[in-house]
Symmetry: C2
Subunit: 341 residues, 2 copies
């Protein structure tokens, strides 16, 4: 086994759009596990839009990263050495770890990965935080009813693609916004969306909505913000629900962005607009994992991962999120090898 380790740190805070200067790969020693801990070798790591918020020096729901701190996020990893009875060397686990080759994780903070259910990287997407976000966000905040029209922005992303499919299971008409024809084709041809709107080639989003959602919008699951959201708010039905999961189009804004005021628009439809964080549903994660796992195992729930190879390319994978490079979940494959090979 190698004794050298690499990990990414925050080199500087971004000003506006982040670039590669914000990241630095440093060499460290492979850490040794304490009792109750696992030494793991990273197979896949997750890059997610919310991480942009952690790069800011501002309090939010996730603690900001300090300059010089290791970057962290969801990982799928193989146990190399176990100081816990719960796992053995060779087991695959998922949890929160550093962007590194090797790391120590508390065995109490990880969950097993079952490769018979899905490829391991799916545990960072449909079977991980994004899948649970879609599950609770749609069902508990969006409250979709059969016959409702559900609109999803960022529909071909890790969260949006699951939102739309669960909405279809719920008997809804589902319309997705995505940024390429390849994505919109995936939504309608593979995932069963009723319609998909390519926001880069469509001129008037309101007209497009009038065609795709002629009866108006009952549920809007928003991952994006900006002009898509502005258009959807003009088409909300009575008692519409808006789940505000993400606003990726605004994450690189250094000033508070301006746009059409929405509060005057929500009175007549009595719309409910609610911010959403998956951690609020932590006591029910098992419920989501069980159902999502079953739907994935039976093939009823489609999923896709966009894989960037190599730990050294993790910042590129992260930056690609803001360019919409990913279809489904964006992950970084750190190694495919079994540990020690």
């Amino acid at each position: 086994m190698t004794t050298t380790n690499r990990e990414w740190i925050l080199a500087e805070r971004p000003d506006g759009e982040p670039d590669l200067d914000c990241f630095e790969l440093r060499e460290t020693d492979v850490p040794a596990p304490d009792p109750g801990e696992l030494l793991v070798r990273t197979r896949y790591l997750s890059v997610d839009p919310y991480m942009r918020g952690r790069m800011r020096d501002a309090e939010s729901y996730a603690e900001p990263w300090g300059v010089g701190d290791a970057l962290r996020g969801g990982v799928v990893a193989e146990v190399v050495e176990s100081e816990s009875d719960a796992y053995d060397a060779g087991d695959l686990v998922t949890g929160e770890g550093a962007w590194s080759d090797y790391a120590t994780l508390d065995a109490a903070d990880v969950a097993p990965v079952d490769p018979s259910v899905a490829d391991p990287e799916a545990y960072l997407g449909v079977l991980g935080m994004p899948g649970r976000t879609a599950y609770f966000g749609l069902l508990e905040v969006g409250e979709p009813k059969p016959g409702d029209t559900v609109v999803v922005s960022g529909a071909a992303g890790a969260v949006g693609s699951v939102v739309g499919q669960i909405a279809k299971r719920n008997g809804c008409r589902v319309i997705g916004f995505a940024g390429t024809d390849e994505k919109t084709d995936w939504l309608t041809d593979d995932l069963g969306f009723d319609a998909a709107i390519n926001y880069t080639t469509t001129g008037d989003y309101r007209d497009a909505l009038d065609s795709a959602a002629p009866e108006g919008v009952d549920v809007y699951f928003d991952n994006v913000g900006g002009p898509i959201t502005d258009a959807v708010f003009t088409r909300l039905n009575l008692d519409a629900r808006v789940a505000v999961c993400g606003q990726i189009s605004h994450y690189n804004d250094e000033e508070v962005p301006t746009g059409p005021r929405k509060l005057p628009q929500i009175i007549a439809p009595r719309a409910k607009v609610q911010g959403l964080l998956v951690s609020d549903f932590a006591t029910r994660f098992e419920e989501a994992s069980e159902r999502l796992g079953e739907w994935v195992a039976t093939g009823e729930l489609e999923h896709r991962e966009t894989v960037v190879d190599g730990l050294e390319n993790a910042p590129d994978a992260f930056l690609g999120l803001f360019a919409g490079d990913n279809i489904g979940k964006q992950v970084v494959r750190v190694t495919n090898d079994a540990a020690g090979e």
Copy 2:
């Protein structure tokens, strides 16, 4: 009894801020009641901000008024002639009627006014639609808990003044925004608000909130929109609730107004922002009327009406709402005389 009648009609639709040219007083005959109807003489009529919406040629929750149509709203009136067993001549009733001296009302659509509970004009304010809006909007949408900090905009208006007092009954810390020192003094000295902010003389609303609401904002009851609302949204606590009751600062905008985007701000606090219309609670109006009536009769709930005299001055009273002329409920006294005098 006189046989001439006067009523206000919509002469033209306003472009931006309405003015007197939008209104025309015409003479008509006193109508005759059909079976089941009452001929009434108007004592007080209500002017309300929502009426601005009815002057637009756009579908909304209230049907738009047509040019040439009689203007309508809440009235307190005396029965002159009854074709119903439910009421006798001389009874005071409240319901929805025209801006006129005389009108016919369906007896099934009116409610009795009990002058032993409060002066009749209070049935257009604290004991009418505004009071019920405050009651259901605060309790059902705002969901205040003891210890919560509640902020109210338009706090010295018909709705806001009741919202704040009910929030105090609920054990909340209550802060109101209003536009004159006379209003803020009324809020703190008479209504028991913990603090009041004069938005015309205060430079930085965020600083003012930090002093008045040092623990942040749990409930925001918004009647106004604009910069006050922009400031409050930066101070929302975890799980904050925003009841969007009115947006009077935007009612005269002909273009969709722009402002700081709020959706990115509600994710971290998981705030719930909901549009509110009192008619959604129609099945529970009796509950509100009973409680509000009891609190008013015992003097526990303060109320105030700003009275403009004369049917001919009704448009001025309406226009004054947008200048903040009223403290408490703005009403028009059409006549003080008993019918027939």
